[in-house]
């Protein structure tokens, strides 16, 4: 697993005497700052505008005021959001769907990777190759046949104390969760990580009478914190940002995730202040998580490129 470590602080060439920065270095730093403005201005604009009435958002566009929290600021847009969409429901749905998917994803993929990297059995190589092969098909190529397919799948439901079989997964929670649990990329990441853990630990545990599941749970998983964090982050982001899939398979308002909520604002006459407020509400939690766990985020992204 590659980690992108921050560059060490520069050692002063002549301690006690400050070197004058060369024009080249000033130019590079200016470029870095200009790019920082380029990458942050829409986000700053979104956050600031979410507190302004519509008229002021457009009035402030012609100057630096567009990026400053000045003028008439209020939480009106936020209260407006709750009148227009069931925002709490959407947020709870997304939190629940993402959390369950992340948890199942960590468990099921690491379990498979454990068997594929640390146990001896026939057919292991074939299974590993087949799993990796699923990576070459982008989701978009089979999303539509999959809608047709999930509409045919059976599910068990409790109906007045009796277990009944229903057909079709459209409009359910499971259709938003189960298709995204198993992931060849995550199996591969766990597989690579598990191989760095010494196998002698397993052998010692076997002599002590531990079961294979016991080794997985008590020895390997507790040593795999970084891999778990990587998979948690890589599994969480697409679930929180899910749009195409829920757009196609979820009709009832009660089951919708946050990103579909945006369509409510586009369809009816838009209040840009409310759109900015809703966008901020569903973005800020992720940005906060990112800033808090920045190092883990960056190294998880970097490790997704290792397979080359």
């Amino acid at each position: 697993m590659t980690s992108v470590s921050p560059a060490p602080a520069p050692a002063p060439a002549h301690p006690g005497r400050r070197r004058r920065p060369s024009p080249r270095r000033i130019g590079l730093q200016a470029a870095r700052i200009a790019l920082a403005l380029f990458f942050s201005f829409p986000i700053v604009f979104m956050l600031v505008s979410s507190f302004k009435p519509d008229q002021q958002i457009f009035g402030d566009l012609d100057g630096i005021k567009a990026f400053l929290p000045v003028g008439h600021l209020s939480l009106d847009n936020y209260t407006g959001v709750f009148d227009r969409v069931p925002a709490v429901r959407f947020l709870l749905n997304s939190i629940g769907i993402s959390a369950i998917t992340v948890a199942l994803s960590i468990f099921i993929n690491s379990l498979a990777a454990f068997a594929l990297s640390r146990m001896r059995w026939r057919g292991k190589k074939i299974v590993l190759t087949a799993v990796i092969a699923t990576l070459i098909v982008p989701f978009e190529t089979f999303a539509l046949p999959m809608v047709w397919w999930v509409n045919k799948l059976p599910w068990l439901q409790l109906d007045g104390g009796r277990l009944i079989v229903t057909e079709g997964w459209l409009d359910t929670y499971q259709v938003q969760i189960l298709p995204f649990v198993a992931n060849a990329m995550f199996i591969f990441l766990f597989h690579q990580y598990f191989q760095s853990i010494p196998k002698e630990l397993d052998e010692a545990a076997v002599l002590d009478g531990a079961s294979w599941f016991g080794i997985y749970r008590r020895i390997v998983m507790p040593l795999s914190g970084p891999a778990i964090a990587t998979v948690a982050i890589l599994a969480f982001l697409p679930m929180w940002n899910a749009y195409l899939w829920p757009l196609m398979v979820v009709q009832s308002e009660d089951l919708r995730p946050v990103m579909i909520g945006i369509d409510y604002f586009v369809q009816t006459n838009p209040s840009w202040g409310e759109i900015m407020a809703y966008s901020s509400m569903i973005t800020v939690p992720v940005l906060a998580l990112f800033v808090a766990f920045q190092r883990a985020f960056v190294s998880s992204i970097a490790s997704s490129g290792v397979k080359g």
Partner: protein, 311 residues
């Protein structure tokens, strides 16, 4: 099961039996552990992919009282006569051809800028990465506002050119809608590939640079002879992932333009979703998906071939 003669003759029979039992237990446990993941991969990747091939030759509809019927190559015949399909194909290529070098190149520039040992690089990395953790749906709605005729982008253009240039109505003009979406998509995705390049840069051994310095290499030759060759594996990965993402262009179109104006931003995936989902023609949409799949596969195989290690 019979004991094979000569196999581990020095091991007493009881121990051999125990070993065999342990092996069997290990195999069974392993199968139990891989099967949930394998089952789900089969259910939600393998079967849908096979279905994409099968349904493309039928008139299947999403919800239909009658079962799907085999219609041969009918869907493909319709597809080849569909002017919207050619437009979508062209727009998809247009997007990919511009985005791949632009995003890959800018990402490398960013990676080089934040790989320096100067104060605040961590801050810059964080800021360049912020759009990546912002959802594409949010980014699209946000930039729809920025791109309005009297929106922030045009105000900025007007300010920077001292009022000489008046920006167009970006998303409502067939010739500017796609470029506008391209700029926004690069803005959102480039931080991701910056991190990938950065990880690649940090695997290049420092002594290669020192050796180049001793040889009196300029910055430019140092880049071409040390950095660029050292990034060959990373380069392939960046190229292929940006390409596949570019071909899958959907969210931006769905939120910002719905394929318009005048179909100038309709893409293959957008068209497939519209026919398959909104018009419920699963068979026809599968045919579009199938063509799309072959396309993506062909392009990434060609890229892999062109960027292969030349030893």
């Amino acid at each position: 099961m019979s004991t094979r003669p000569g196999a581990a003759a020095d091991v007493p029979p009881t121990r051999r039996a125990t070993q065999r039992r342990a092996r069997r237990r290990e195999s069974l446990a392993a199968l139990g552990m891989v099967s949930p993941a394998v089952f789900l991969l089969v259910m939600f990747i393998v079967i849908p992919v096979v279905l994409a091939f099968a349904l493309a030759f039928t008139n299947a509809r999403l919800v239909s009282p009658t079962p799907a019927q085999f219609t041969g190559v009918q869907n493909f015949r319709v597809l080849l006569d569909d002017p919207l399909f050619y437009k979508s194909l062209r727009n998809t290529f247009y997007f990919a051809v511009v985005v791949v070098p632009l995003q890959g190149g800018l990402a490398l520039v960013l990676a080089l800028l934040v790989n320096a040992k100067v104060k605040g690089v961590n801050f810059f990395r964080t800021v360049y990465f912020l759009p990546v953790v912002t959802s594409m749906v949010v980014v699209s709605i946000l930039w729809t506002l920025l791109y309005q005729k009297t929106g922030l982008i045009n105000e900025l253009i007007s300010h920077l050119t001292l009022g000489l240039v008046q920006g167009p109505d970006w998303l409502n003009n067939p010739s500017t809608a796609m470029p506008a979406i391209i700029v926004m998509s690069v803005w959102q995705g480039v931080g991701f590939h910056m991190i990938i390049w950065l990880a690649g840069l940090q695997t290049i051994p420092q002594d290669l640079y020192e050796a180049a310095d001793i040889d009196g290499a300029t910055r430019w030759t140092r880049f071409w002879h040390v950095t660029w060759p050292g990034l060959s594996a990373t380069r392939t990965f960046v190229l292929i992932t940006i390409t596949i993402n570019a071909f899958a262009l959907f969210t931006q179109i769905s939120v910002m333009t719905q394929g318009g104006p005048l179909d100038s931003t309709s893409t293959v995936v957008y068209q497939a979703v519209r026919t398959g989902y909104s018009q419920q023609q699963t068979g026809y949409a599968s045919a579009i998906s199938l063509v799309f799949f072959v396309l993506v596969l062909a392009v990434s195989l060609v890229q892999r071939f062109l960027t292969r290690e030349k030893d």
